[in-house]
């Protein structure tokens, strides 16, 4: 294991720099969220025709993160595919290809069901991959997608979630606004909550330092004081950096008034 590639965010927990993935050492498990394979199809319906296959990029993130962490198990926190309805053929192919590749390398894969994951069960069953309807508990860790309210008492000490696709917008001294995907780490009723960024660049998200709580997608986050969360800004494939708590980013542009 190359320690230099792992950025510690809590005891036993690391961000696999520079990928949208978290590694849990004691479980030897890699966690990613919101792959949204097939999002191009949905964009096409809106009249945006991307000339590239984003699944290739997403699969690359998964593979590189596995390579860098050498994890033996992969947990996907829901929304593996994008379309709510019956998967179109290409989506079907993408999901199968990704999982087949992983299985061939003897990686154990488990999926937490997300709100986009209808119809996924049949694919997963054929590939012998378990899917967990609401959550999965392993030791002191709990894994959820994030679209449903939490029963905190059923959860472990550390909760991992996706669904929100968090990002921040930040104005540099130079006057330019940058948008970065981010991890969020903070407190949820005495437990640690870790929110993962979407693994797919084209899956839009919420600018958590700008949005008001009512705009958050996840009912879990609507009940948190997000200002106290620590963001780790990510440019997939390039860099990760820890930033001060969100409340400080929210006031960025007042600084120059």
């Amino acid at each position: 294991m190359e320690a230099s590639r792992l950025l510690p965010i809590a005891e036993d927990i690391y961000i696999v720099d520079p990928w949208p993935a978290v590694y849990i050492e004691s479980l030897d498990t890699l966690v990613l969220a919101d792959l949204h394979l097939g999002v191009e199809g949905a964009l096409e319906k809106e009249g945006i025709f991307l000339p590239l296959n984003v699944s290739l990029i997403v699969s690359k993130y998964v593979e590189e993160a596995l390579e860098d962490s050498k994890a033996s198990r992969l947990l996907l926190l829901g929304d593996v595919k994008h379309e709510f309805g019956f998967p179109n053929p290409s989506e079907w192919i993408e999901v199968k290809k990704l999982l087949n590749g992983l299985l061939a390398r003897r990686i154990r894969v488990a999926v937490i069901r997300g709100n986009h994951d209808n119809y996924l069960i049949s694919i997963l069953r054929r590939l012998n991959t378990p899917i967990h309807q609401t959550h999965l508990n392993l030791d002191k860790y709990s894994f959820v997608h994030g679209h449903l309210p939490l029963k905190t008492e059923e959860m472990g000490e550390v909760i991992f979630m996706g669904h929100e696709h968090p990002s921040v917008r930040i104005r540099a001294e130079t006057g330019v606004t940058h948008k970065f995907k981010c991890f969020l780490v903070g407190d949820l009723r005495g437990k640690m909550l870790i929110v993962l960024p979407a693994s797919n660049e084209l899956a839009g998200g919420v600018d958590v330092n700008v949005a008001s709580p009512s705009e958050f997608l996840s009912p879990i986050l609507r009940g948190c004081d997000l200002g106290l969360f620590t963001p780790y800004l990510l440019d997939p494939g390039h860099a990760v950096h820890r930033f001060p708590q969100l409340k400080f980013l929210g006031t960025m542009s007042y600084g120059r008034a």
Partner: protein
């Protein structure tokens, strides 16, 4: 062969070429105008002609007379078919309607002559087809085709693709392009150039092409743009009728105060408005040009306050006003009911506005041609003298106007830039071609190369676009993504794929970016509108200028933006989006020249001579002359304090090292090349300096030069860095630098829309590129991962070649390398020179970002920390 018309034709020769009744009708005019003397006969012989003339020279009849005559002859012989014979294209719907009306009268009157004399009923039909034309009217045109069709470039692209309508065009003989000067320098014109080739392909033969243009230069290039090339690559023939300078002009420059250098600006504007009201009251009608919409509003407001003109005889005309408001004002102008009208660019084009006594130009029109086009709006008929008064409120504008007058009077006009190899427009036409039928790659490539803007299009670029459109771009078969067309590269053919394509083409064609504007509210009051692209960049708390006042951004909900006034605060958001007119390269060089001339006279102690030249050659008043001479003298004295003997000139490029009060080094480059060139020089240098120092460099760009702001405590060897930028690598540097600016995101979105990658309308509904789903930055970043992707290439090309001017920047560096121009580095000083003041105050700010994203994140982190410390943690917490 492109040739200039030398032979003038008289009444007899012209009448001989015309149908007898048409000739009789035409005889009722007292005399021929110059373009008529030159152009009518060649057009009647079927020659392609470009006519460049001032407004009011009878252009409509010049081009249409022989066409109408021929149609009458056909009709009398009973040979006039239900087909379109002549297509007239203009960029403006208003102009289309004017031309329609101007044609109705002669056609009715000639028809009457025919009826009375011969008892023949000739039914010559004209119709206008634009985006406003209803479905019913379009259906009627199919049943009863107009013989003369008046349309816009966009509607033309539709009718040559429409399944039924295109069949009515196959007998067309003439195609007329009006206001070609306003088309050939942008993508709308490039789009039209391809439509012209496609229509000839449809007809299976060459059409007579007739172009009409206001003052523009060089006419040879515009003529080539009009006619294009033959299949063997040889140029098609065109006759140029150049009557640009036939209209006499009386130009002068007026300085509102005795000494512009030392008079406070409040005093200057007071005097200026008094001067303007004097002009307005002593003339029947005055047209005042400013350069911006806000300037137009401001001037109009102050003039109204003076109350010298009746409120309803004074008005503002600019593009933010509604169509109805503008129309009302134009009509009142035509009827002679307006004494004063203030406008920005919206009255430059040739719509009929009746008689104007005098045109006043406030500030600099930034280009000799534009100046002449504006002045040419006065003295409506070609025999009247155009009265033009220039005036300015700051010294740089004053000098620019003086030079502009001298250049105009000696017939030196700035060169127009015609965009080339635009891949997004190309993609659009390839789709259009695929809609109509199956094509071989060869014949399609040849057709495209016959148009002027694509004459040098490399085959690989063409193929890259076809591959992109057919979904075969650089990916394996199994990853083939949605293709709009199908293409079989082995067979060398392509065609339509799917039934949706035609609808996509019809609903999305065109080149003008659709700017979605968002309403801005302070409390519940609507205070203005902002472009969606701009709003996308705002964060709560940002300060920006709208309508001349500073506002704080509170948030956006859907299509509403909420702000609060923040008067007296300094804006935090630079306004990249202000599209001020750039100074042309040629005018910039001429200004350098004049400033140096004045300096030389001062050096020789012959100040009087300098003043005399200004008075005589530049037609300035004595206050202007004094102000200009004093301005140059002040700069000279400043340079002497620094121990510098040289002075600014086209050859001497001075660089100031001004250390500001914050200790930052401001490198002020005096490069009077206009913003299009300065954008290239500044950004590529910022890129070089940034790489050298590992920081983002802030820069200020203006027409007169640019400033690089180096963060404090960085030592820098200026001359060594300058040598790293060479004529052969500047293009690479600027392309790389552009990839790291915000500007490219927005341009890319426009290019993506033009090439049908992001549709504006799809399956019957209008699409807003939703901010949440896919912002411009993400879209660009994802697509720029594909090597050689033509739409990314096009966005970069559009910026460096059209918005900026990389070619002249290369030339300048080449000159420096050959020793024909030189950088002169001034010693460090804690004050900027007088010539640098406006640049530092008013230039547009931008940034060339660091490329290293890792570095950028770390830098941002440090900035946040610094800001938190500066605020004190408690206060920040209270704010949030």
């Amino acid at each position: 062969m492109i040739r200039y018309a030398r032979k003038k034709y008289g009444w007899d020769e012209i009448k001989k070429r015309l149908d007898e009744d048409v000739a009789d009708w035409f005889s009722r005019f007292p005399e021929l105008t110059p373009p008529q003397e030159y152009a009518i006969v060649p057009i009647s012989r079927g020659r392609s002609v470009l006519v460049s003339s001032p407004t009011g020279s009878g252009k409509t009849l010049t081009v249409f007379l022989s066409i109408i005559s021929e149609l009458y002859s056909l009709a009398k012989k009973g040979k006039l078919k239900d087909r379109v014979y002549c297509i007239y294209v203009s960029p403006l719907r208003a102009l289309n309607n004017d031309v329609y009306k101007n044609l109705l009268t002669p056609i009715e009157e000639i028809g009457e002559i025919c009826r009375e004399r011969r008892g023949v009923e000739v039914n010559l039909r004209i119709a206008v087809r634009t985006g406003d034309t209803t479905q019913g009217e379009r259906a009627r045109m199919l049943r009863e085709p107009p013989h003369i069709l008046i349309t816009t470039p966009e509607s033309l692209a539709i009718i040559i693709t429409a399944p039924k309508f295109k069949n009515l065009l196959t007998d067309a003989k003439w195609i007329i392009v009006d206001e070609i000067h306003s088309l050939c320098d942008n993508k709308r014109g490039v789009h039209l150039a391809l439509s012209l080739q496609r229509i000839e392909e449809l007809c299976g033969r060459e059409l007579t092409r007739i172009g009409l243009s206001a003052t523009i230069n060089p006419l040879e290039e515009v003529a080539k743009f009009l006619v294009g090339y033959r299949e063997d690559g040889s140029l098609r023939g065109c006759l140029i009728v150049d009557v640009r300078f036939q209209k006499k002009m009386d130009l002068k420059l007026v300085c509102p105060v005795q000494d512009l250098l030392y008079t406070p600006s409040i005093e200057v504007s007071k005097k200026l408005y008094r001067f303007l009201s004097d002009v307005i009251t002593s003339n029947r009608s005055t047209l005042i040009f400013t350069n911006t919409r806000s300037g137009t509003e401001r001037v109009c407001f102050h003039l109204a306050k003076l109350g010298v003109v009746k409120a309803d005889e004074l008005g503002a005309h600019h593009s933010s006003l509604s169509k109805e408001e503008r129309k009302t004002l134009e009509d009142r102008l035509k009827l002679g009911k307006m004494q004063g009208v203030v406008t920005s660019t919206s009255l430059e084009l040739g719509i009929d506005i009746g008689f104007i006594d005098v045109v006043v130009q406030l500030g600099s029109p930034k280009s000799v041609s534009r100046g002449l086009q504006r002045i040419g709006r006065s003295g409506h008929s070609i025999h009247e003298i155009s009265q033009g008064i220039f005036s300015a409120m700051d010294l740089d504008d004053l000098v620019e106007d003086a030079v502009l007058i001298r250049e105009a009077l000696s017939g030196r006009l700035d060169r127009v830039h015609i965009p080339e190899n635009c891949l997004d427009v190309l993609a659009q036409h390839i789709v259009g071609m695929a809609v109509t039928r199956k094509w071989s790659l060869d014949e399609s490539y040849k057709l495209i190369k016959r148009s002027y803007p694509y004459r040098c299009l490399p085959r690989e670029k063409f193929m890259a676009v076809v591959r992109y459109l057919s979904g075969q771009f650089g990916f394996l078969e199994e990853h083939r993504v949605y293709g709009k067309i199908w293409m079989d590269e082995e067979e060398g053919v392509f065609g339509r794929r799917g039934k949706l394509l035609r609808a996509i083409y019809f609903q999305n064609l065109g080149t003008i970016p659709e700017e979605v504007s968002v309403a801005v509210f302070a409390k519940k009051r609507l205070i203005g509108r902002l472009e969606e692209d701009f709003v996308e960049q705002l964060l709560p708390g940002d300060l920006f200028i709208l309508g001349g006042r500073v506002h704080r951004f509170k948030g956006a909900r859907g299509m509403r933006v909420h702000v609060e006034p923040a008067d007296g605060m300094k804006p935090t958001v630079p306004s990249w989006f202000s599209e001020l007119l750039p100074l042309t390269f040629d005018l910039g060089e001429a200004i350098s020249g004049l400033r140096h001339e004045v300096w030389e006279f001062l050096e020789r102690g012959s100040e009087d001579k300098a003043r005399k030249i200004l008075l005589k050659q530049c037609r300035v008043d004595s206050w202007s002359a004094d102000s200009i001479v004093n301005y140059v003298r002040l700069q000279r004295d400043f340079l002497r304090v620094l121990g510098v003997e040289a002075f600014h000139s086209p050859e001497n490029l001075l660089i100031e090292q001004y250390v500001d009060s914050g200790g930052k080094m401001n490198l002020v480059f005096h490069t009077l090349f206009g913003r299009r060139v300065n954008n290239v020089l500044s950004r590529s240098l910022a890129h070089v300096f940034g790489k050298e120092l590992g920081v983002s460099i802030k820069l200020i760009v203006d027409d007169n030069g640019f400033v690089l702001i180096i963060p404090s405590k960085r030592r820098i060897e200026v001359l060594r860095c300058l040598r790293k930028l060479r004529s052969r690598n500047i293009r690479e540097e600027i392309e790389e630098a552009v990839m790291n600016t915000q500007y490219v995101w927005r341009t890319f979105r426009h290019c993506a829309a033009r090439s049908f990658m992001v549709l504006r309308r799809y399956k019957g509904h209008k699409i807003r590129v939703s901010r949440q789903q896919l912002n411009a930055e993400t879209l660009f970043r994802v697509c720029s991962k594909i090597p050689g992707f033509p739409i990314v290439e096009e966005a970069v090309r559009e910026i460096v070649e059209d918005k900026m001017d990389v070619k002249n920047a290369e030339r300048i560096l080449g000159d420096i390398e050959r020793g024909e121009r030189r950088w002169i580095l001034l010693p460090k000083y804690d004050l900027p020179s007088p010539f640098a003041h406006r640049l530092l105050l008013r230039g547009m700010q931008d940034v060339v970002l660091m490329e290293d994203r890792k570095h950028l994140l770390r830098d941002l982190y440090e900035q946040v920390l610094e800001r938190i410390r500066g605020h004190g943690g408690v206060e920040v917490a209270a704010d949030s």
